[in-house]
């Protein structure tokens, strides 16, 4: 195959993804300019309504505050954790990876609800304990922007680490060794050497999670809504979840436009970083492999970070889920409640698991196949060819992450209805697969891009010079070098797909329930205990899968080292 044909093939794959998301964006823009969600009846009324909102300015300020605050928390945790995992002989590495997998399987609203139980001003368990000690009621009030940022930041740390990890792993060891030889301490080397060199990957991650932080709804729904902390996603949610009239897709789309604009700003910054990417290439033909270093006395600090984060992000919510699974009805922990505990919910839930589990596993497999093929092709085009059309496709993918999951699902449903005559995806599980894969692209391409950016093109050029064709070079050089990034992207996508509710809730069919919808159904009818048991089973299974994947990765790495 000639290089031209190969690029054409890759572009046709990339275009299918970018076109799909591009059409979704166009549909939303058109909807925002349409009256009563009727395409063709042009109006600015939705924008007029949006700008006429008396509290629009506070809403925008709060939205920005949530985005910036969450990004600060998660980057503050993700940067040291990425460095610890990629560059040191930290002995708690396996534990940290286990905690990451567990975090991704626990729904964010469960984590938020746990914090409400602990820190609500009326009956929070911690508040009550402190009141007994100090005599002052309601010392903590969970209903604030700061708590939203903290909880979202804690929850988003693992995917941020996974996104940056490949870049950290590809960093040339010589740079840090030079710092160490010069007597620079590990933290100073981190801030003075590692961080500046990894600027594109770190910057892209920060931008990505800033957008994600202002788009996600789970934590805001549990903590923001009760306290009237309205942000843009709350307005969008209310426009879709009407209770006395048809959903107002036009206004919901108009509300989504500031998010798209913010994403657009992020894309511009990201593209600027990409233009300077060559300066940051770290893995070339002469680059030295990573050599893990001893943390020495700093190990204690690393353990402290891991333990505190694990306690706040995994132990507290997991305890809540386990507790809920043992109680006959929702009750906060107390000595009296201990007498009520039983395993009754476990018997009921075990009968419900099989079909949703099989469907979920099939869904994960299909989404992974599609998302990884799409994202590897797109990343290769963006980082290796870099034509204007490739960057435009990358920009569309990046922009698409500003569209809330439920709005994306509704847009996809609209598209599938429009195309029903020649592509009958509507009402099938394949529509969920395509939507979830498209949803995963922004994360997957960012993760793979950040690794690909640090691989010097000289490696592939050397292959071409040796007469190796583009297909063999792609599969023999590019794919193996970005394999760690593909692995972490796949892991995160699998974990997120297993529990994502927004998309299946709009698109699922009763004949093909998945775990997330089964849990939702149980919660909807007040069977909290069995819903908790299903959640625990999901956590257990996915953590096992993650452990298995890691074991395989370790085995492969050992094998490669032996071969080398």
């Amino acid at each position: 195959m000639t290089p031209g044909v190969f690029v054409g093939l890759m572009r046709s794959i990339g275009v299918s993804a970018a076109a799909l998301l591009g059409v979704v964006l166009v549909v939303l823009i058109v909807a925002s300019l349409s009256a009563d969600s009727r395409i063709g009846q042009w109006t600015f009324a939705n924008y007029a309504d949006l700008f006429a909102l008396p509290d629009l300015t506070p809403v925008l300020k709060r939205t920005l505050a949530v985005g910036i605050g969450t990004t600060i928390v998660l980057m503050g945790l993700a940067l040291p954790m990425s460095w610890i995992l990629a560059r040191t002989k930290f002995s708690g590495r396996a534990l940290l990876l286990f905690l990451f997998a567990a975090t991704l399987t626990i729904p964010a609203f469960v984590t938020a609800m746990s914090y409400v139980w602990l820190f609500n001003p009326n009956s929070g368990i911690v508040n009550q304990a402190l009141e007994r000690l100090t005599g002052r009621p309601g010392l903590f009030d969970v209903y604030s922007i700061a708590w939203i940022c903290l909880i979202q930041g804690l929850k988003l740390t693992p995917p941020a680490v996974f996104m940056m990890l490949p870049a950290f792993m590809n960093l040339d060891a010589a740079l840090e060794e030079a710092a160490a030889v010069s007597g620079v301490s590990p933290p100073r080397a981190f801030f003075g050497v590692v961080l500046p060199v990894l600027a594109p990957a770190v910057g892209a991650t920060a931008i990505f999670f800033f957008i994600l932080a202002i788009e996600i709804f789970d934590v805001v729904a549990v903590i923001g809504m009760p306290a009237d902390i309205d942000v843009l996603t709350v307005l969008s949610y209310q426009a879709i979840h009407t209770v006395y009239g048809p959903p107002d897709y036009g206004f919901a789309s108009a509300v989504g436009m500031p998010l798209v604009l913010l994403s657009g700003l992020g894309v511009l910054i990201y593209l600027r970083l990409l233009r300077r990417a060559d300066r940051f290439a770290l893995m070339g033909g002469k680059t030295r492999r990573v050599e893990a270093k001893d943390l020495g006395g700093w190990a204690l600090l690393a353990w402290l970070i891991v333990v505190v984060w694990g306690l706040l992000t995994v132990v507290i919510p997991l305890f809540t889920v386990i507790w809920t699974s043992l109680t006959p009805f929702l009750m906060p922990p107390s000595p009296a409640a201990l007498r009520e505990l039983s395993f009754a919910s476990y018997a009921g839930a075990s009968a419900l698991i099989l079909k949703p589990l099989i469907n979920t596993l099939l869904l994960i497999a299909a989404v992974l196949c599609l998302a990884i093929v799409w994202s590897v092709c797109l990343s290769w085009l963006t980082t290796r060819i870099g034509a204007a059309s490739d960057r435009a496709m990358d920009a569309v993918i990046f922009l698409s992450m500003a569209v809330p999951g439920m709005l994306l699902a509704i847009a996809m449903q609209f598209l599938s209805l429009s195309a029903y005559g020649w592509l009958p995806l509507y009402g099938t599980i394949w529509l969920i697969v395509v939507t979830m894969a498209a949803r995963a692209l922004a994360f997957a391409t960012r993760t793979i891009n950040s690794a690909a950016l640090q691989i010097d093109r000289s490696l592939e050029e050397a292959a071409y010079v040796c007469g190796i064709g583009p297909v063999r070079t792609f599969f023999g050089v590019f794919v193996p070098l970005v394999r760690p990034a593909i692995g972490v992207a796949a892991l995160v996508i699998a974990l997120v797909v297993s529990r994502d509710l927004a998309i299946p809730l709009v698109l699922y069919t009763p004949d093909a329930p998945v775990l997330a919808t089964a849990i939702y159904d149980l919660q909807s009818v007040g069977r909290y205990g069995e819903a908790a048991v299903l959640s625990l089973i999901v956590v257990g299974l996915l953590v096992l899968c993650a452990a298995g994947a890691r074991a395989v990765a370790v085995k492969n790495r050992k094998h490669e080292e032996e071969m080398t």
């Binding site: 209770v243 006395y244 009805f329």
Partner: protein, 357 residues
């Protein structure tokens, strides 16, 4: 709203199925054609649906989110009732969103993926306006008892506690409870009321009793009363059970009561409730299956099965969880005619007062 309350388990279901089968066999032997195939006695209008229903593709009933085991238990009893296996699925979700989706399908000439839609009288107005419902008097023609009909094309299938107020009996003394809706504005309840942020729950329906001006004043007062607004109704239960909230609005506590939760309805008078009805969707590929499903829910046997497996029923059977939950309250229905007349206007007014579009 409520949940599975099946306390008898699969053994009871098996006994019931065997019972119907046995009765059917005996009746068939005795030569009673309407009781052949091991099914219950059916009006001829209903029986006439069965041959066509057997040839129809599967039908989907949209309304409540029903877990798989609850749906299976309910369907087993319905199959036994009719003497053959009805190919139906039960699913739930966002009702207005689904209504808009069905309207789109119908506009494009595609058969809807929903065959029977069961929802509140208020949401029925949205469905009716979207033009997706069968308006012919199919339910009346089937011979459904008049007291089980909301309209000739809408079968009453459950009584909802959406208009009621609930409390945690372990955390609030009954002597302290509000006796009027305006009592909610008492400072003692500030920051201690949980409610979904919707205009069409307790606020709208209780307007029937206290009038629009008083209700509007109450809503405006509550907007400055630190109400714990939640996104979904089940979250209200969590806030009430944890003690964070002392009162919850628009919450059905039946399923939690069945599990022994310390909850009760606040006996504010008049204690109003509202009904849900089953509709047929235009263009359904399985209209006969849908009619059989809806008819089953109009019978005592169907109500008992629905209550036991899905957790909902009308209050007609005194032994049902719904009836027990309403015991002593003296509940009365908000008239359907009043809802039809006022729903959209009040929903708009109250939504504006609550800062919603």
């Amino acid at each position: 709203m409520t949940g599975n309350t099946d306390n008898r388990g699969p053994a009871a279901t098996r006994r019931r199925v065997l019972g119907y089968a046995g009765a059917g066999t005996v009746m068939a032997t005795l030569g009673r054609p309407d009781l052949a195939f091991g099914r219950a006695a059916l009006p001829r209008t209903v029986e006439a649906l069965i041959p066509a229903a057997k040839d129809e593709p599967g039908a989907t009933m949209f309304g409540l989110s029903v877990p798989a085991d609850s749906a299976a238990g309910f369907k087993a009893e319905m199959n036994a009732f009719y003497g053959f296996e009805l190919d139906i699925s039960m699913t739930g979700g966002m009702h207005p969103v689904k209504a808009a989706e069905i309207a789109q399908l119908q506009k494009r000439g595609i058969s809807p993926d929903i065959d029977c839609f069961y929802t509140s009288i208020g949401t029925s107005i949205v469905l009716r306006d979207a033009g997706i419902l069968v308006t012919e008097p199919w339910a009346e023609e089937l011979g459904v008892a008049p007291d089980r009909l909301i309209t000739p094309s809408m079968i009453r299938i459950l009584d909802s506690a959406l208009p009621l107020m609930s409390y945690n009996t372990e955390r609030t003394e009954s002597a302290e409870l509000p006796t009027r809706w305006e009592d909610l504005l008492d400072p003692r309840w500030k920051g201690r009321i949980a409610s979904p942020r919707i205009p069409v729950g307790a606020f709208l329906y209780n307007t029937y009793a206290i009038g629009e001006a008083r209700m509007l004043a109450l809503i405006e007062g509550l907007m400055d009363h630190d109400v714990i607004w939640v996104a979904r109704t089940p979250e209200s239960a969590a806030r009430l059970l944890s003690g964070e909230a002392s009162l919850a609005l628009s919450l059905d506590i039946g399923s939690q009561l069945a599990k022994g939760a310390p909850l009760a309805y606040v006996p504010v008078q008049p204690a109003l409730i509202t009904s849900w009805g089953a509709h047929l969707v235009k263009g359904s590929k399985s209209p006969n299956l849908s009619k059989l499903f809806a008819y089953f829910l109009s019978t005592d046997v169907g109500q008992e099965a629905f209550g036991r497996h899905v957790g909902f029923s009308t209050r007609d059977n005194p032994a049902s969880i719904t009836a027990k939950a309403f015991e002593g309250l003296g509940v009365t229905d908000v008239p359907a005619a009043w809802i039809n007349e006022n729903f959209k206007r009040l929903a708009g007014t109250y939504a504006a007062a609550m800062g919603l579009r």
